[in-house]
Symmetry: C2
Subunit: 186 residues, 2 copies
Amino acid sequence: MNIQNGPRKAEAIFAATLELLAEHGYERLAIEAVAARSGVNKTTLYRWWPSKDALLAAALRDSGLFAVDIPDTGSLRGDLLAVATQIHRLLTSEHTAPVVTATLTAGPRRPELGDVSRSFFADRMAREKPIFERAAARGELRSGADPVVVMDLLAGAIWFRLLLRGGDTGPNFLEEAVDTVLNGAA
Amino acid sequence: MNIQNGPRKAEAIFAATLELLAEHGYERLAIEAVAARSGVNKTTLYRWWPSKDALLAAALRDSGLFAVDIPDTGSLRGDLLAVATQIHRLLTSEHTAPVVTATLTAGPRRPELGDVSRSFFADRMAREKPIFERAAARGELRSGADPVVVMDLLAGAIWFRLLLRGGDTGPNFLEEAVDTVLNGAA
């Protein structure tokens, strides 16, 4: 979390926001309840985040709950496997999975939530960029390969298997997904 | 649609079900309203589908709205590009996108909907299997490559880009995704 861009109790505020989201869903998430649970004055919250969506975007992006460790294992395969394992953990852990579900199911007609999602994944991609820069420098990435497409394939496969297709998502699945993205199915 | 496994007006019933789902959301989807719109007696509906979820599963799986043409272009690349284009169309067309969104956002605590989703994608995978059998016979598929993982990567990338990351999903994106799945990013 960037403490230069928020009030001192930002982590407590973000935690309260995401807890209340998971407990009550997006519709009933209220700034008043966040204020009560985090012990921060409502006026302070509104000074930093003018709307519920602004607060939710900041919480999802900057809370420690969704922090990723950007790995540096020495190989692109090792780094992608570490990232895939973290994505899998965020989508299945009892602390984070309910927040993901509540965000996803918030409602079909909420363009603001589309902005939250885009902002979250743009930030995530910016942090993952060094993985691909190091891989390119080591000659592990085909010239012209688009890191965003690689992450769409890898993250998308994990989301798709877990939330839509169902079925096994163990270590073998993650390795097979990484190896196929790197070496191809052909 | 398999007319041997449903009443004569099945397609009208499925259409009414999916229209009402898109209009009112899962919570307020009612068998009574499906009966009224399709002109089929409520008792008939209950005879075929004992619950709302059973009807919804059948509608999503067997309605012409979500039918896929299994391509046979002569190459795995051509077939996967055709499938990817169809997935993209289903997620963006004005007739199908609202149904997808309403199903996805139906609510976090609905294990029955997980069953609907698993049943839908199992059926879809069974239909796509010949694509991979033909590819293997032509020597276009690495021995040991798992068609389910290939489809998780490809479909997952399209879902992820469209619904979570946002941004461009034009023909170039679909080609890049297919080519990376086939030939790898390494």
